[in-house]
Symmetry: D2
Subunit: 342 residues, 4 copies
Amino acid sequence: MEGAHQNILQRLAEVNMLPAAGYGSDDCCAAAREKIRSACSCPQAAVHFLVGGTQANAVVIAALLHSYQGVLSAASGHIAVHEAGAIELGGHKVLALAHDFGKVRAETVAAALHKYAADANHEHMVMPGMLYISQPTEYGTLYSLAELEALARVCRAHKIPMYVDGARLAYALASADNDVSLADLARLADVFYIGGTKCGALLGEAVVMPQPGVLPHFFTVMKQHGALLAKGRLLGIQFEVLFADGLYQRIGADAVKYAAQIRAALAEGGFQLYGAAPTNQVFFIMENVTLARLAERVEFSFWENYDEARSIIRLATSWATRGEDVQALCALVRGFYQGVAR
Amino acid sequence: MEGAHQNILQRLAEVNMLPAAGYGSDDCCAAAREKIRSACSCPQAAVHFLVGGTQANAVVIAALLHSYQGVLSAASGHIAVHEAGAIELGGHKVLALAHDFGKVRAETVAAALHKYAADANHEHMVMPGMLYISQPTEYGTLYSLAELEALARVCRAHKIPMYVDGARLAYALASADNDVSLADLARLADVFYIGGTKCGALLGEAVVMPQPGVLPHFFTVMKQHGALLAKGRLLGIQFEVLFADGLYQRIGADAVKYAAQIRAALAEGGFQLYGAAPTNQVFFIMENVTLARLAERVEFSFWENYDEARSIIRLATSWATRGEDVQALCALVRGFYQGVAR
Amino acid sequence: MEGAHQNILQRLAEVNMLPAAGYGSDDCCAAAREKIRSACSCPQAAVHFLVGGTQANAVVIAALLHSYQGVLSAASGHIAVHEAGAIELGGHKVLALAHDFGKVRAETVAAALHKYAADANHEHMVMPGMLYISQPTEYGTLYSLAELEALARVCRAHKIPMYVDGARLAYALASADNDVSLADLARLADVFYIGGTKCGALLGEAVVMPQPGVLPHFFTVMKQHGALLAKGRLLGIQFEVLFADGLYQRIGADAVKYAAQIRAALAEGGFQLYGAAPTNQVFFIMENVTLARLAERVEFSFWENYDEARSIIRLATSWATRGEDVQALCALVRGFYQGVAR
Amino acid sequence: MEGAHQNILQRLAEVNMLPAAGYGSDDCCAAAREKIRSACSCPQAAVHFLVGGTQANAVVIAALLHSYQGVLSAASGHIAVHEAGAIELGGHKVLALAHDFGKVRAETVAAALHKYAADANHEHMVMPGMLYISQPTEYGTLYSLAELEALARVCRAHKIPMYVDGARLAYALASADNDVSLADLARLADVFYIGGTKCGALLGEAVVMPQPGVLPHFFTVMKQHGALLAKGRLLGIQFEVLFADGLYQRIGADAVKYAAQIRAALAEGGFQLYGAAPTNQVFFIMENVTLARLAERVEFSFWENYDEARSIIRLATSWATRGEDVQALCALVRGFYQGVAR
């Protein structure tokens, strides 16, 4: 809900009147690429800057798949639910997988691939052509390194690329529960993106291809999708700053800490948590009849129906969340049910 | 598996060397259209002839939907599973619905439409833009007239078109359990197609639009999809013959009768039926360990896994099935388990 | 305008009630494939049967191109003008080339490829990804073997496939001016199709890939495009018959002979020919004020405006054209202007 | 090449830490919309903010056209040449029109529409479904009000929408030769966009629909195309500032003045101008043999080949161009040929 980290605004002002080449070929983009490669311990990586997450997903997936292929994703995946059909607009089916609070297991992926291959009619069906996951997931959960390695093994055994949506990656990196580094992602994913928009930037996502040849002519693919920013510098600056002095790795720390505090307060206050994600999102279950009462005091997202009478509610902290607001919220939820006829 | 009804071959031969206009503007197509309109009690209907079922579904659905819409369908629907992503290639998501042996209930459709409208994020989601059903369904079940009317009511209340895939429609019309006539379909559906390929024709599906304005420029849409047959007469002949003297309404009768005989024999023989569809398809459950044994004697389709140890098997009769083959099959299955160590 | 060669109807009747596997895996398709491979001296070729020309072009071109590529074609090419945007529906631009009565020269193709590569902005432009030509062309002209070899050399030097649309190929093979055999096509083209619909079949086009790996999963691609015929046998029969005893190579001979007679009669009668194509199509130029007069006696196609006052008219003979009709037409056109105030 | 007008950076900093709703529903976007409506004298207009020009064109055109339609455009139009096939990726053909330095005449559009309608085969062809023009054009020329009115009359008579690409609109508005106001555009165009990226913004284009119903569910269409910015405020701020106190209408004035000075200097220096566009772009023709020499001193764009030996060169000034740089360039080109052996 806020703008960008202060350092980004400063850098924007600094370089504002310096002429720069367009379409991502400027010095800021070059510096940002170099810093990202370094943070990923992947000096040969190709790095492209896109404007937003849906755009990044749509362009990368369209570029990775053959026309007759679909993308495996948790049924809860952003591409499966909240991108208005961007993947289908590109011609591809999202092949929904069972999941556990947003996470898909390697065995689930393997089973889907085997089921397809074993089906006598598989030539009449959509071939699974890649795996999409996100870190953290839609429910804020994290893949462990072991889980990610297992997924990568399945994908490589079946020769399909693994793509990781990192829209909120900073909140994974800042979580105490996380054991997956940027270098691990670069080692295990065929393509992934480092989210800027939700992690301190004005806008922008950095698509990383550890093996640069994986998506030939990606520049033209971006252009064709209307995803090539003329003043590419604007995107370069976001990541140049976020990857200076490890800012990106730190920027989510407060948000993760605050989310843990809110979770604790909710539990104390008698709310039922929905999952126990270790990042910046908090999900809990609430009676519909008392929802309006909470809404008078707190802005939150309805997430989905839990059952006829209850809803799942989402709260999300961010790099810009203020401690005082968190404390006020915690106080409110601790005492909420005392002031409500349940 | 066989070719076409004898009358079709005869008619083909009769008109073979008579010159005819192309692209469906010939006399045979005109006659077929008139007969179909009459059989549907719908004199104003537009009728277009397409080559196959996947093609008909893909072209009609692409033409009915706006870019930002998807199509509601039973999760088991042909478009959802067995068309290799043809709907997604056209840019649209198949929105899967729960079903009962292939049938979706009006309440399920209504609930999906309400859920979409009620979701705070629905502008970020795929809007349900039409309903796809088939009669009979993928599992050979039938919608009753009351069920179809309920579905039509929901669709009209929400201003979305209802489209009926009639790939095997002749087997519905010939079933004693059926109470839905062609005229009912024309009254209730916005678009439907009368299947030829599986119902006695060499090829061809007749797409019927009871209100002709529903899909403007459909001729060009067909052409653009590579779905316009140059010698359209070939398709006209199929339906001219099938709709002469009520042949289409009769042609599935033997198949339905034989399927019932097979179902009875399977039950007698100790096989577990899977559903009790009243049309030409027979589904039953079988231990994987004895499947190979059956396969030595009978050609059948593996349909899907029932559980780890058992499969669902499909047998389909047709207008061309011979009574003697059915009797032989019935004898075999009645005694099958006596010759097998269970 | 007529149906099919008599042998095809006979064969259809012969096999009508024999059960056959679906989707092109039957014996008739197998036999037809073998005969086509043999006629093309290309034993390893993959052969797929599609229903019509626009469909074949749309499916093959979509399968050959990457998303960021377009197809080079004569500006007059069928895909550029008369397929209702089927190529664009598939996501690709038709890159129009200058031509001489439908033929593009190797130098023109090379120049287009060089211009693209040399353009400083070419990453913002559509990359030429393949060449589409037809034999005969839209104007009935023929590529010589030398011309075809030159085109193939350019394509191979630039690593783009060459695709040949053979909708009317029988009329090329039957022309005295032709020196390009089926084996030459198989040697020079990456994909081509042998037209059935306009050359004696009820329907059907045989797509030939001399190197079978060129389009992986083409079966599924066909299905996804609604281009897979369930009773594939119907298509197999067309080509099994057309390629028995060299019928295909002979079937266009009368049409070509008759077209030459009509051309001669038109010239004698004072009509101005438009081009001098050596196949079954005849183009001539006529004053608009006298067109209506001709239309009273002859059915013909308006082709395009020549200038303000004159039109280009097309006549096409076929395998089914009768000599007596040709003689009547010739008599008419020889004397036409004597009965008209010019 | 530069960043953004100073006021934009200031406003960004001001509101940076104020929480704002996402996806364009914030106060900055609301203020920007109101200011644009006011500047367009069109209080009912819908205004949507997109990120870039190719994106705006691709999304608007895809939303305006039916699947079977194409877009009429000057053959030199940005969508026809420099958008990497974005329009075709959306499924539509660009129907190229003859033009005069980028401008299409109303008669040319009318003739194309008549030709389509009159063609006996038009149902097999792409239907012209809208007109795309740009103001200024690719060659920097301007439509006069009378010309624009004539185009609008043709479009309305044929019931096709007219869409105006205003990527460089500020330079039209600032030109002494211009007689087309924003209010005129709102009166005559069905959709147009006001360019920000090239006119003082960091990024952003404001799509204006004078009749808001013209593109229903455009929010979802944007999302589906990956064109919905999460922090929509960023775009709102650009236009809130550009439309405060008439800045947008003034911001191109220096650029236009400088371009005129450069044109005069080129002419004095013996260069041959290519067209005489009255906006911020300068085109001239130069011998290829002396190009390298100019390139040592000046950064410019190669535009296209004029003939074998000569190129067309483009120079573009902008809101950020400095007078001292212009004077230096003018001095250089005035004396250029004196220092060169022609």
